[in-house]
């Protein structure tokens, strides 16, 4: 015997609570990803198949750098500058990684699911060395 379910077909006031919960969750994540300051040193962590393949300290880049990543049968073209990272092109079918656009703050990522590639920006200062002296 299935549980008795209310079969209310018109929106009820309490529905707003569900909507509010979703909006709050989205807003909290949004503040986390876009609200923080973009100053400080950034590093880009490039992973393939769950393994970190390269960590690039962006603040040390003096000019635009490019990486050609071959993974899972696809070829991705990643561009890194001292402040931004973006996927210039990809041979993957859905192009989600290219459409993600430029990322520039700690916590932000570019994901290419078909190629199993992710590029995640982290706060370079938080992970150890601030500066190397002498």
């Amino acid at each position: 015997m299935p549980m008795k379910r209310s079969r209310a077909l018109r929106p009820k006031p309490a529905d707003a609570l569900v909507v509010l919960a979703v909006v709050l969750a989205a807003a909290a994540l949004g503040v986390y990803f876009w609200g923080g300051s973009s100053s400080g040193s950034l590093q880009a962590v490039i992973s393939q198949n769950g393994q970190v393949t390269e960590t690039v300290n962006l603040s040390r880049l003096t000019e635009k750098e490019e990486r050609v990543i071959t993974s899972n049968g696809y070829t991705l073209h990643l561009v890194l500058t001292s402040t931004e990272v973006w996927m210039e092109s990809s041979t993957c079918p859905n192009q989600d990684c290219v459409h993600t656009g430029k990322i520039s703050r700690p916590g932000q990522s570019i994901v290419c699911l078909p190629a199993r590639v992710s590029v995640m920006l982290t706060d370079g200062n938080a992970s150890g060395v601030d500066a190397v002296l002498g």
């Binding site: 018109r10 529905d15 609570l17 979703v22 990322i103 916590g107 699911l113």
Partner: protein, 171 residues
């Protein structure tokens, strides 16, 4: 679980319907408007909502599992199975709980289900990639789920109204 012939038939028809809706969805490329992984209408969720309300959690779960497995076989894509299963099961769990509240309508239930579906898919992406990078896409996916959830709620509501005077909804 013991199924009557009528229930079994209804489950089979709904599974076929869910598969057809998943296929139909490819012709409404919402991803062209919002080009992010996992953005889609979630039309097959209409079937889950309908099955949950009329047949209960057990049979709705059977339909979901059959739809995910057959969908992966037809698409010839086993890695997609993880995504559809984790999304579908999360949506099912959320809607099964929310539909027990007398204060929520089918809209609230299906918005909650759509949001949970996206959370499940992001979790599948985390499992696939081995890091938390996919969470970056979650705020936008949650925002989109408000609209897709309301849409599936609307369609499920129309469906219930249309079937009110038939014997289909009587146990």
């Amino acid at each position: 679980m013991k199924l009557t012939t009528k229930q079994l038939t209804l489950c089979a028809v709904l599974t076929a319907l869910a598969l057809a809706l998943s296929y139909l969805e490819n012709f409404f490329p919402l991803a062209l408007l919002i080009p992010l992984p996992g953005v889609k209408l979630g039309l097959a969720n209409i079937v889950t909502v309908f099955a949950l309300y009329t047949l209960g959690t057990g049979q709705a779960l059977l339909i979901l599992l059959a739809r995910c497995c057959l969908g992966a076989v037809f698409a010839g894509n086993v890695s997609a199975l993880l995504f559809s299963l984790m999304g579908g099961l999360a949506a099912m769990a959320a809607m099964s709980l929310l539909s027990r509240s007398r204060h929520l309508s089918v809209y609230g239930v299906s918005v909650g289900g759509a949001a949970a579906h996206n959370c499940g898919q992001v979790a599948a992406a985390i499992v696939t990639l081995g890091n938390t990078a996919p969470v970056y896409y979650l705020p936008i996916l949650l925002g989109v789920s408000l609209f897709t959830g309301a849409l599936t709620g609307l369609v499920a509501g129309l469906l219930f109204r249309g079937l009110e005077h038939t014997t289909l909804l009587k146990a």
